[in-house]
Symmetry: D2
Subunit: 327 residues, 4 copies
């Protein structure tokens, strides 16, 4: 992989020195940052860039999404291509792979107008193979593409508490980190392009498995006569311990301040989890990797989406599995 | 595993000598404790009772198992019934439900000779429904039955570091605790009879799910280009974190002192995990509780037993799922 | 389902009158047959024995179930034990293993009063291990126990069209066959005691897997743009063909006269299928046999029971898996 | 969909009339047919076209694959593009989606040189979405693309006994059928482009589920004491009946002339089934369709590929699930 990027590395090293010089000069003179995708997550992320003194050049397919950001100082343009004309560092935050492909390689896309040496950071959660395609396409134009998906929801985005998992040329990591730390609390370098996505997908697959497993276990224990709080305590001091049992327990009455204490409202929606598991499934299928529990977890959240749980927090799998009253 | 405990073993040897001195003095003043089942687990447990100054009346179907204990001071008798004639506190540690039924209710069983008021503590891992049957049968004879399955393996049994999960009448818990603390570091009261088994089964089911999930995730991440140590680090600081990822990682090279660092030798055998998941499955089926991931975990470990992994540590599921060399 | 049999019902009514005439003549010359369990299935089965000229000695825990049979000529007694005093051929048709254990070995059970040489035929669907236990207990009393579970529902029971799968001593098979042919169209000898249950459990497990598989396949094909009737036709001429695709297709609009054409009413209820899969699961767990798809099928029907599908035909899994309108 | 093809339909109708005229004239004057992909399946298919009097213009990436066909009369060219220059009916038979994309849209691809009105028939088994992409790309060039995947293996290909499932504009179906009947016994029109793939994928998913289900069921029944032949007979007269139980039974000793009678050699390899299930999984994921058993079947065949079953017939899942000798 290293060989692939040798050319652009030299370009980038020079560009890095330039940037470092620019940014040390003064906050007022920061160069503008492009931002494409002003949805639930992208909007607060872009705001945090503004708060940190970066001029923002933004666009979104929905004009109303742009209006709010314009009111607080961002310059709004019509297309991703125009963003690329005006900024040499651009962040994208989009719902899924086809949107990323369109925004980068479409007729009005970034790569149609991108300047040599531009740093492109995609924080969408997509298939790592698409990230690698975008990186190859960007390299042809002399630009550098990194994937930097996030963990953490809308709340974390507003508070600049996101975790970024970053894949791409290591030499570019510092430049990316400068921007990402304005929007997140943790920035982790994962390896070559696509490994940010890989890390995100892996974490969420294990999270999904742990959550369903915890829901099954809590339900079984309760039906066998165990008090839910006591069961959670026993699990958490034993080898059954996991994030879903000790931090986000899906059984009502065990913890406060989690979606299970609030009828599974808020949190991380079942459709979003089903989407991430779909990415895990595609990636596993394409690399011929067996993921029996990951696959079944995917199927369970997929069925839940069609049985009325689409917009509830994914920990509502506890409710989905419980016997109905009166049965 | 052995290396982990080398330091503490030396401490223990000194401590054992000290204890031996203490216990010969005070042995006369403690009433005898019965012990049925001197296998890999039962034998070191019975030794710890002796070390703590309790006279032990023991039996086992294999005479050779009795010999070793007899040599260090236990009185050996022929049948569980004879144990019940001589002791009013009895521990049993047996492989499975049918053995427990035989030892308690068989023709030479404990309940044929049990004295009124005897405390019966069963540390076998069995179906909670069998525990409740034994408790009902014991109650008819005026005796009290508690279930107290353990977590922790042979090493923990030798070092008196087991965790006991206890189910039974709360009034008897103190009497049970007095004995169990000689053999374990943690003793947890779980509720009515059978709930000790329930807690054990629940923990091990979630452990099994977490372990397979971790193995799938580590394997997928590695195939996507992530470094295994880095992936484990990312999971452990995120919502994918679980005991199998942070304490007993199944991917070789991530941690030391765990079975994955030693070709999956030692640890907790796949057959034992398959057995515990069989109990979870039976219990769930009989209470009409859905456990989709628990069931699939059961099936995976069951298939592993027939594909050459029976005696390897259960974390060898990582190896089972990996693509073979040359494919 | 009703419509399917309308024609044959009229035939049957005429045939019944004829039979009634015949049977009053010859009733005196046949020895009485005992019948325990007059539920939805047992009642029409007992009626068919009466129609064939056998005096019937019957009992059931619900007096109202006995009344109807009494009105058409059966002698009703209070307990299974009394049945055993008056009949030396006895059929039992009970909901589940605990009922069978009670009816045979309980304080008022058959084996308390059974005469030497009595033939006991149990048509309940239960765990084969319980059948073997009952056979052993019967043998001790000098009686012979056979398991003879049925396939076919209430309609088939009324029309004497059941299939019996019989396990037990081969020498007794002719004697059993004489009675069973009064109630069924097919009687198959399967082997030693318990193998009748085994055959029933095996068939229903494969049926469950085939039905869910067909539902998934029809749903996927429809979503990919295939016409459901055309897809069924293609499957049925290809290697995807199975009973659920060609005889009992779960997709509405493909076939007439099946539950999917009638909002999944009638047929074989999801709870009954979940019960049979529970038996398959227990049997597989206890014999350490891996059944990954059978297990998952069990879990799916179990979840359906708690999500409002308990009393619908089991082919409603098609509906369960479909995306809701408006999603 | 209809509207999309209105333009090309008119072109095609004219072209059809022309063709009909040509082909009725005489066999010797048949216009040449292009063939791309001369592997295990493509080679005998192309031979059957030659046998039926069609001049064949062929190419393949492996020169040795072309040699054999050249010796029996085919004209061999270097690239798919050259095939398109010389033939206005072209068949393609390729291993997977990326090959199809390359052969049609690559720099030397068919669509670089295709003549207006050319009929393109792809018999590869690929993602229906790729078929739709190829159809759209072909339409831009004034050509018509149909998908026509096959069922049946190398034997059926040699004997011209394949089944073709055809998707595409209905007006073109007759023209396609003329060629396909030279190579297959059944040609089924499935609907718009992509539905041929959909039908193939659906059938093979249900086949995979039925095969694993049959393997589990036969194994369970045998372990419960049933004779395998008797069990197969019972299933086949009951609702457990399926193609895998009555035509291709996976348990050795039940049937002759099937892979289970020959140590699972020949037949349909596990890797091929895993590939088809990967397509089913991708398609289901992308259309948000739950396929719980289909997913698990995919995972099982995937694991088998890495455990030494890659090149055995897929019915070897029976062997994979059996307990090893000596356990």
């Amino acid at each position: 992989m290293a060989a692939l990027f040798r050319g652009s590395r030299n370009v980038l090293l020079r560009w890095n020195k330039h940037l470092a010089f620019v940014s040390t000069r003064s906050m007022a003179s920061k160069t503008p940052v492009g931002f494409v995708g002003l949805g639930n997550m992208g909007s607060p992320m872009a705001k945090n860039l503004l708060k940190n003194g970066y001029p923002v050049i933004a666009t979104d397919v929905f004009p109303e999404s742009c209006k709010e950001l314009q009111d607080i100082g961002a310059q709004v343009v019509d297309t991703p291509g125009e963003v690329a004309e005006k900024a040499d560092r651009i962040l994208t935050m989009l719902p899924s792979s086809p949107n990323v492909i369109e925004v980068y390689t479409g007729p009005n896309g970034i790569l149609k107008k991108v300047k040599k040496g531009t740093l492109l950071i995609d924080s969408s959660t997509i298939d790592p193979a698409v990230s690698r395609e975008m990186a190859a396409a960007a390299e042809k134009m002399g630009a550098v593409f990194m994937d930097a998906p996030v963990s953490g929801g809308v709340g974390a985005a507003s508070l600049a508490k996101l975790t970024f998992m970053v894949g791409g040329v290591e030499e570019e990591y510092n430049a990316a980190q400068e921007l990402l730390t304005c929007m997140g609390a943790n920035v982790v370098y994962c390896g070559p392009v696509g490994t940010g996505q890989a890390a995100k997908i892996c974490n969420n697959m294990l999270l999904a498995i742990g959550m369903i497993g915890t829901a099954e276990t809590m339900n079984l224990g309760i039906r066998l006569g165990l008090d839910p709080k006591l069961l959670a305590k026993i699990l958490n001091m034993s080898s059954g311990r996991c994030w879903s049992s000790d931090t986000y327990n899906p059984a009502p009455g065990v913890m406060e301040g989690v979606p299970s204490a609030n009828n599974y409202q808020g949190g991380f929606g079942t459709t979003l989890m089903a989407k991430d598991l779909g990415l895990a499934q595609n990636t596993a299928t394409n690399t011929k990797t067996p993921i029996p529990l990951g696959s079944l977890a995917h199927q369970i959240f997929r069925v839940m989406c069609s049985r009325g749980y689409a917009n509830k927090d994914f920990s509502s799998v506890f409710q989905f599995l419980r016997e109905e009253e009166g049965q």
